[in-house]
């Protein structure tokens, strides 16, 4: 089972197991990970599921599409080079993902 390690802005870590095919956002929301809001439920409309992906995991992810790229300019905490919208990142069996959630999403 793929595992996502969520670190919040204060440094607290939460490990959540997810299902292959689910997005990181879905995995977080279903288990009540506090740093993910995801108002639009994954339809790429709100930019409230912003995460920072640990550098060594970043290269394992498929590149982002233009719409995600544009939405990332509207996040509550400024985007960084390792920013992604977690609704667009899907779990695979091989993927062990380390992400940090921003201080705020709205």
């Amino acid at each position: 089972m793929p595992t996502v390690h969520f670190t919040d802005a204060e440094g607290a870590v939460r490990d959540v197991q997810g299902n292959p095919g689910d997005s990181v956002m879905e995995t977080a929301v279903r288990n009540g990970v506090p740093g993910i809001v995801a108002e639009c439920g994954g339809s790429l409309s709100c930019a409230t599921c912003h995460v920072f992906v640990r550098q060594d995991c970043l290269s394992k992810l498929p590149p982002m599409e233009d719409m995600e790229d544009e939405m990332l300019y509207g996040t509550a905490v400024d985007r960084e080079g390792n920013s992604r919208l977690s609704c667009q990142v899907r779990l695979t069996d091989e993927l062990e993902l380390f992400v940090t959630t921003p201080e705020t999403q709205v």
Binding site: R30, A47, M71, G74, V106
Partner: protein, 460 residues
């Protein structure tokens, strides 16, 4: 106007049980021998958010989250889009795992329809369901949403005349889609256009009938309505404005199609073939329980700025609530009922504060989205009362947005395939900044706010 009330907080809801209620509790079935701290009636977006927000605020009383559907609480927006098209699993629409509710001391009750509530002056009471169960509570939240407005014309009861408000509606529609070739969608609002786009993508021959002279009613401005009309027609949707259905006709054949819709007769006598008619002509807020409780009702359950109903103790939030307009700069006394995910969430947060004894007003700018075919509409703010618009159109990239102004200040924007524009306006509104009309006119550069927002800088 918001009623000024000294609402009881959780601290005032003591263990004292009035005699009449004690008797009711004693007589109740086993499942209701204990009172829940908060009974939330309605297990959709706002009800779920209320429970979640309360736990985040440290509310430690038992919560019962009660819904009348036989599904775990799920997200609705996908019903007319990804779910209908079969591109998402129903499981991924579920808000929270069962483990989450168990860990957070929330009882999820499915399939119970509350028909009557007895309530005491201190805010406590007992809710009675149609199956005879009783749900005693200390505090009550009404997150009862809205129901689809019915089209009462001849043939309205035929099989295949469908609505799309909840998961069962979506499942009924999906079950019929396979056999249908022709679909008539009645109503050119968001639900109608989203479903029409989905059905067209699934290979159906789709006609949209809109009673009004333009699409999407008052939710967007004239330019945006026209944009959607042209865009959908260019994509092959047959859209007929200022047109209404006179009656639905049944099939003439044998037992196979007896009782099923076969066509839609228009006022001018034209008959359109239809094996499915999907009606999306708006919703009516569910106020029956509020009326029975004697709460003030006027196009929804009337609440104050803190989501408290007129009794000062019940909270009512989301689609069912009529609240003071939360947008900064709105007219004093102006009231509004908002049907959106964003409002369900923000209003729930306001109510969560009220239920924990705090007073926090609505924060944030209302926003909406609608995905139709490859058109992603995002709306920031409310465009009521605008006196100027600025149109931004980048034909090459399919981007389109309209910014709305009142007295020189930006108040809202409709943005299609233009997230940067949407984000710029939403952020400017949230921060109280302006985007001067002159600085928004060039579609090649993002709208620039008067504090030189970071959007522009970042994009360089």
């Amino acid at each position: 106007m918001g009623t000024s009330v000294a609402a009881p907080t959780e601290q005032t809801a003591t263990e004292h049980v009035p005699a009449a209620q004690a008797a009711a509790v004693a007589a109740a079935p086993a499942d209701s021998s204990t009172r829940t701290g908060l009974l939330i009636i309605g297990a959709s977006q706002s009800g779920v958010q209320l429970a979640v927000s309360l736990r985040a605020l440290g509310f430690d009383e038992h919560i019962t989250l009660l819904g009348d559907e036989d599904h775990r609480p799920y997200q609705r927006p996908a019903l007319s889009k990804e779910f209908l098209q079969g591109t998402v699993e129903s499981e991924s629409l579920i808000f929270r795992s069962n483990e989450y509710w168990a860990e957070h001391n929330v009882d999820l009750v499915k399939g119970e329809y509350i028909v009557r509530i007895d309530k005491e002056a201190d805010g406590s009471g007992v809710a009675h369901s149609s199956s005879g169960r009783q749900f005693p509570f200390k505090r009550l939240a009404l997150t009862v949403g809205a129901r689809a407005r019915k089209l009462e014309i001849e043939g309205g009861g035929l099989g295949g005349v469908l609505y799309l408000r909840n998961a069962d509606d979506a499942l009924a529609l999906k079950a019929r889609v396979g056999d249908a070739q022709d679909v008539v969608v009645i109503g050119g609002g968001f639900i109608g256009l989203e479903a029409a786009s989905s059905l067209q993508k699934m290979g159906k021959n789709v006609t949209v009938l809109e009673f009004g002279p333009r699409l999407v009613g008052r939710a967007v401005g004239e330019e945006t309505a026209e944009y959607f009309l042209q865009a959908h027609r260019a994509r092959g949707l047959d859209i007929r404005l200022s047109t209404s259905a006179k009656r639905f006709t049944a099939g003439a054949g044998g037992a196979d199609d007896g009782g099923a819709v076969a066509g839609v007769e228009l006022q001018d006598g034209t008959v359109l073939p239809a094996q499915i008619v999907l009606v999306g002509i708006g919703v009516i807020p569910n106020t029956q329980l509020a009326e029975q409780l004697g709460l003030a009702v006027d196009n929804g359950i009337v609440v104050d700025r803190f989501a408290l109903a007129s009794d000062g103790s019940t909270v009512a939030i989301g689609d069912c609530a009529n609240m003071p307009n939360p947008v900064p700069g709105s007219q004093p006394g102006e009231r509004i009922r908002l049907e959106s995910v964003n409002n369900a969430i923000e209003h729930a947060k306001v109510a969560a504060y009220s239920l924990t004894g705090r007073r926090e007003e609505y924060a944030g700018i209302p926003w909406f989205w609608s995905n139709q075919a490859d058109l992603k509409l995002q709306i920031a703010g409310l465009c009521n009362g605008y006196d100027q618009t600025v149109l931004r159109r980048d034909g090459e990239r399919g981007k389109f947005s309209v910014l709305y102004y009142r007295l020189g200040r930006v108040i809202a924007a409709d943005c299609v395939n233009a997230p940067l524009d949407f984000m710029a306006v939403k952020n400017a509104l949230a921060k109280g900044h302006n985007i001067p009309a002159g600085a928004a006119a060039d579609p090649a550069t993002p709208p620039q706010d008067d504090h030189h927002g970071q959007l522009t800088a970042l994009r360089q």
